[in-house]
């Protein structure tokens, strides 16, 4: 069986040789036109008029469009229909598209776009959380509140109380391949869209609306993305829609890709947060009461902010039993890019808030934070079942065992002692160590999204064509799914052709998001394969007078009674016998239901777990810091492919640590994003990964009935990076008597400020 094998990514050789095709690599037909947006220069105001004569006169320009030129719907929102492709009467952030240039080349379009003169009467913008609260600028009518027990009374009754506040920065996705789309005209108004998107169906839907056609007229294809990270769940809509509108106008193929600066200025990022908390706890560190307020800047449009903010609330407990908790969530409207999905989807922010809370309690009591963590863990599976703040029983809890194992393999206790010894001897360089756990809920919280489809053909030579609704963004989904198909048919992997995601093959798909790609599409493909296998088995059973269940598909052979065929022979026989060798498969996640207004139900099919230990060193005179070592133990269930899963875990840790350390988004007083290129925005590079980086997978299968008992692995490991921030905090705490109160991202300057806070008498 090919599942569980550590096979390389199916396109690895294409990636490393440069032969893998991305949207911008596809040879385009002669006459293809190129698009660029003219952008708002003001963060907030009334759009009076635009003088675009110079744009129209610029070399190579074919047409320039503004909102009134759009033929049908002027909207690219994935949710509330509040995101015009081109601004109408108002602008809402610096970088908002206001006009569209169609030109003969990419550079001509970009240069021309700079020549527009846009007259805006500026009004007072809302930038900060404080601004937004003062102006009551928010989405939904008020804060959402989820609660369990009675936090207020429990706080009053608590032995000890503590309050604090944590700022958490946003994060640029920095996918290697920027946003891109290519649209080619078909006959009779049809469109063929090739898009770098995690959500082809959403692209199809928005394009169809924009060109006034039913969805059947629009076919969207995605072979692969050069990284998505959530940034291509909704942010690709604008490019595909712009291209489709331009194709409709000109009759020529149109392509649009954002230059990196434009990409960073236009598109949404991870939501930044401020989390305020009041904790009640006993002398042993048990958290008896917790009141948490989460404030997040959603940007100018709704996009996916409601489910993101919901997920932050749903991870405000992380792995801890909180009998009395109240979580209040404010979704604030600001004149900035519309914050969007980013790996973890709010979960990381909520979880970081809780890890900070536990860390603060431990510091107050002078206890090892790991001990306080363990004292507050949910009960293990098999013991009394405790519920999350949103009413879901935690039935599969393994963090106590997993953390104990990691503490042992990483030599946590001895290293913590060594760190203390080092810090006693070294006045300038201080070390820190932290072990943090991850419990991440798996399923879309919008329950109806938890479905997937697949289409599988077996050709008469025994080769297999595989298609499903998931998209490949480098994570290895296609390889995992191919392994599933190969295992179901008992054939070698090279019998399987993995094909581009295509709305004409599998319709009405969900985004490849919420870590659900393998879980949902793997099961759908399994269903399709099993349908075909059953048809073949029934035919052979009739021929050879045996039960269909006795027909065995293994190692490229098929045995039925005494007979033994190659898979190809069976395919040819089935074809001769007029048996359909094409089947669809469908899957919907069982056992989930959720009321997001009440904040009660079972939103998640299961939880994925993991933990990381990070050791850092801080230069207390400058705030500079390095990760010295990271040890990770992560739960991928019975892994479909341990090589790919370890890759996801390593990448997740590094991306999470980058979010919380060097990746700093800076807007100026006028609301302009100043960090819009790699020269100003620092993502971790290969050299920034820990020198010692031990990553292992937890040996245990998923208790839930998932594809081969595996677990989702896309988002959860990002939150392993939380240990890097708390290790920095631990190092700073060695500088003085006060709690370091370290905020994220922990840039050198921020760490130095924290050092001074720790030292101040």
């Amino acid at each position: 069986m090919s599942v569980a094998k550590p096979l390389p990514h199916d396109a690895a050789h294409l990636h490393v040789t440069g032969a893998a095709r991305y949207v911008d690599d596809i040879p385009t037909p002669a006459g293809t036109l190129h698009l660029a947006f003219g952008m708002s220069t003001a963060a907030c105001g009334t759009l009076n008029n635009m003088d675009l004569d110079a744009v129209r006169a610029a070399p190579g320009v074919v047409a320039v469009l503004t909102a009134p030129d759009l033929p049908f719907d002027n909207d690219v929102s994935p949710s509330a229909h509040d995101e015009p492709l081109l601004a109408t009467d108002a602008v809402h952030y610096v970088g908002q598209p206001v006009f569209l240039v169609i030109a003969e080349t990419h550079l001509q379009a970009r240069f021309a776009a700079r020549l527009g003169k846009i007259d805006i009467t500026e009004t007072k913008p809302v930038f900060t959380i404080e601004d937004a609260l003062a102006a009551n600028a928010r989405f939904e009518d008020g804060p959402r509140i989820y609660a369990q027990g009675d936090a207020a009374s429990a706080l009053d009754a608590a032995e000890n109380t503590l309050s604090g506040s944590l700022d958490i920065g946003g994060q640029e996705h920095f996918y290697l391949e920027g946003q891109a789309a290519l649209v080619q005209p078909g006959e009779n108004g049809d469109m063929h869209v090739i898009s770098s998107t995690q959500h082809p169906t959403e692209i199809q839907h928005k394009v169809a609306e924009a060109i006034g056609q039913p969805m059947h007229a629009v076919r969207v294809e995605t072979r692969r993305m050069g990284g998505g990270f959530g940034g291509k769940e909704s942010q690709g809509n604008a490019l595909a829609v712009a291209c489709a509108v331009a194709v409709r106008l000109t009759g020529q193929p149109c392509k649009m890709r954002y230059d990196r600066d434009d990409d960073m200025i236009i598109t949404g990022k991870r939501h930044d947060f401020r989390i305020d908390y009041d904790i009640g706890f006993d002398e042993e560190g048990h958290i008896t009461a917790l009141d948490v307020r989460q404030y997040t800047r959603c940007g100018w449009a709704l996009d996916l902010s409601l489910p993101v903010a919901d997920r932050a609330m749903l991870h405000a407990d992380n792995g801890y039993w909180l009998p009395n908790i109240r979580i209040e969530s404010h979704r604030l409207r600001t004149n900035t890019q519309s914050a969007t999905a980013f790996r973890g989807f709010g979960g990381p922010q909520g979880m970081l808030g809780m890890e900070r809370i536990v860390d603060h309690v431990a510091a107050e009591l002078g206890l090892d934070p790991l001990v306080v963590r363990q004292r507050n863990f949910y009960a293990s599976s098999g013991q009394e079942i405790q519920t999350t703040p949103y009413g879901q029983p935690v039935e599969d809890f393994i963090l106590d065992d997993l953390v104990a194992q990691l503490a042992k393999t990483s030599d946590y206790d001895a290293r913590r002692a060594a760190v203390a010894e080092w810090n006693a001897a070294n006045p300038v360089l201080k070390k820190g160590i932290a072990l943090t756990p991850v419990k991440f809920g798996i399923s879309f919280t919008l329950t109806h999204l938890n479905q997937a489809g697949a289409l599988v053909h077996v050709y008469s030579d025994g080769s297999i064509h595989l298609n499903h609704g998931g998209t490949e963004m480098g994570q290895g989904l296609f390889q995992k799914i191919a392994q599933v198909a190969a295992s179901r048919f008992g054939v070698a992997l090279d019998a399987i052709k993995i094909t581009a995601t295509d709305t004409a093959k599998v319709p009405n798909t969900s985004a490849t998001a919420a870590s659900s790609g393998s879980d949902l599409n793997g099961m759908a493909v399994k269903a399709a394969c099993d349908t075909l296998r059953d048809r073949m088995a029934e035919h052979l059973a009739q021929l050879h007078q045996c039960h269909p269940d006795a027909v065995v598909f293994a190692e490229g052979r098929v045995q039925a009674g005494e007979a033994d065929y190659s898979f190809a022979e069976v395919a040819a026989m089935a074809h001769q016998a007029r048996i359909s060798l094409s089947a669809t498969g469908f899957y919907k996640t069982p056992d989930i239901q959720w009321d997001r207004i009440k904040g009660h139900g079972r939103p998640f099919f299961y939880f994925a777990y993991g933990a990381a230990v990070t050791e850092v060193v801080v230069d207390t005179l400058t705030g500079e810091n390095r990760i010295l070592r990271a040890d990770v133990l992560h739960d991928a269930g019975a892994s479909l492919n341990p090589a790919l899963d370890i890759g996801q875990v390593e990448g997740g840790y590094v991306q999470g640590a980058g979010w919380l350390t060097t990746e700093e988004l800076v807007w100026d007083d006028a609301g302009r994003l100043r960090t819009h290129a790699p020269s100003t925005y620092k993502i971790p590079a290969c050299g920034d990964r820990p020198d010692i980086f031990n990553v292992s997978l937890w040996d245990g299968e998923n208790r839930a009935d998932t594809i081969y008992k595996s677990k989702a692995v896309g988002e959860p490991p990002l939150m392993l990076g939380i240990s890097a921030l708390l290790a920095l905090s631990d190092a700073v705490s060695a500088c003085g008597p006060n709690y370091p109160d370290l905020h994220a991202p922990a840039t050198a300057e921020s760490v130095l400020a924290s050092v001074h806070k720790a030292q101040d008498a």
Binding site: L621, T622, S679, T680, E749
Partner: protein, 261 residues
């Protein structure tokens, strides 16, 4: 890019002649100028490359024992060949990235006088002499504020002469994304006193820290700097760091440079 004329003279005299033209601009390694042109922040009609001028290439020793570097010498060459002044060679070895070091020139860097560049600190910290086609300019007179120098129109740096100190060291705190100096401190101890030059920090570009120089001239040790600090008020405050943070780093990096010298 847009159209411009390109000239590559082989002598200083020819270069000066070529620079007499309207909107002619000297081109060193192009590590700043070419991106500037690409962004349309400058649009000279003629670029005059100085890289073909043999007499402006390479490192040699002057009669007075100074290390003399041709104005068109790239950083990698200085790193490899200025061994007689190890701190200078080491500074050159850590400028930018390999591409910058193999293209960028010392003359280009000093003529541009970027407030975050390394060479201005080395030149000012060493009390170097900037030799042009027309005259010799002391470093103290040469740097006149960020992106501003004593160079006249059409004047080019043909050579830079560095007196070799008894001890010297350059400490750079890099901005992690661009690897430019957030603060860089060059400390050099000469028989007649210590010089401390700081780049990256001030709104006025590279500057000498007089109090630190006085303290170190009396006692060349990091502890001599105890209690000395700079105000953040006139420091650069931007997305990479506040003025206060830069002022703090100036003191820390100066101590480190002294300790490492």
């Amino acid at each position: 890019m847009y159209n411009f004329d390109f000239e590559k003279p082989e002598s200083v005299a020819d270069a000066i002649a070529a620079l007499q033209g309207e909107e002619a601009q000297a081109l060193g390694g192009g590590q700043t100028l070419i991106p500037t042109l690409k962004q349309r922040l400058a649009s000279p009609s003629t670029l005059v490359s100085l890289k073909g001028i043999a007499e402006m290439q390479g490192v040699c020793m002057g009669d007075d024992g100074s290390v003399c570097i041709g104005g068109a010498t790239n950083h990698a060459t200085v790193a490899a060949e200025a061994g007689a002044y190890p701190a200078l060679a080491d500074t050159a070895a850590h400028i930018g990235d390999p591409a910058v070091r193999n293209r960028g020139t010392i003359g280009g860097s000093l003529a541009n006088n970027d407030p975050s560049a390394c060479y201005p600190a080395a030149a000012l910290g060493s009390g170097a002499t900037i030799v042009t086609n027309a005259r010799q300019i002391a470093a103290d007179d040469y740097f006149q504020g960020m992106f501003t120098t004593a160079l006249d129109e059409g004047e080019i740096i043909t050579e830079v002469r560095f007196p070799v100190p008894e001890k010297a060291n350059y400490q750079k705190f890099v901005q992690p994304a661009s690897r430019f100096a957030l603060v860089g401190v060059y400390v050099a101890k000469y028989a007649d006193g210590v010089r401390v030059a700081i780049t990256g920090a001030s709104n006025d570009g590279v500057f000498r820290w007089a109090e630190a120089e006085a303290a170190l001239s009396a006692n060349f040790s990091a502890s001599a700097l105890d209690g000395l600090s700079l105000s953040g008020d006139d420091m650069i405050s931007d997305l990479h760091g506040t003025g206060e943070y830069r002022a703090h780093l100036c003191a820390v990096m100066t101590k480190r440079a002294v300790a490492a010298a």
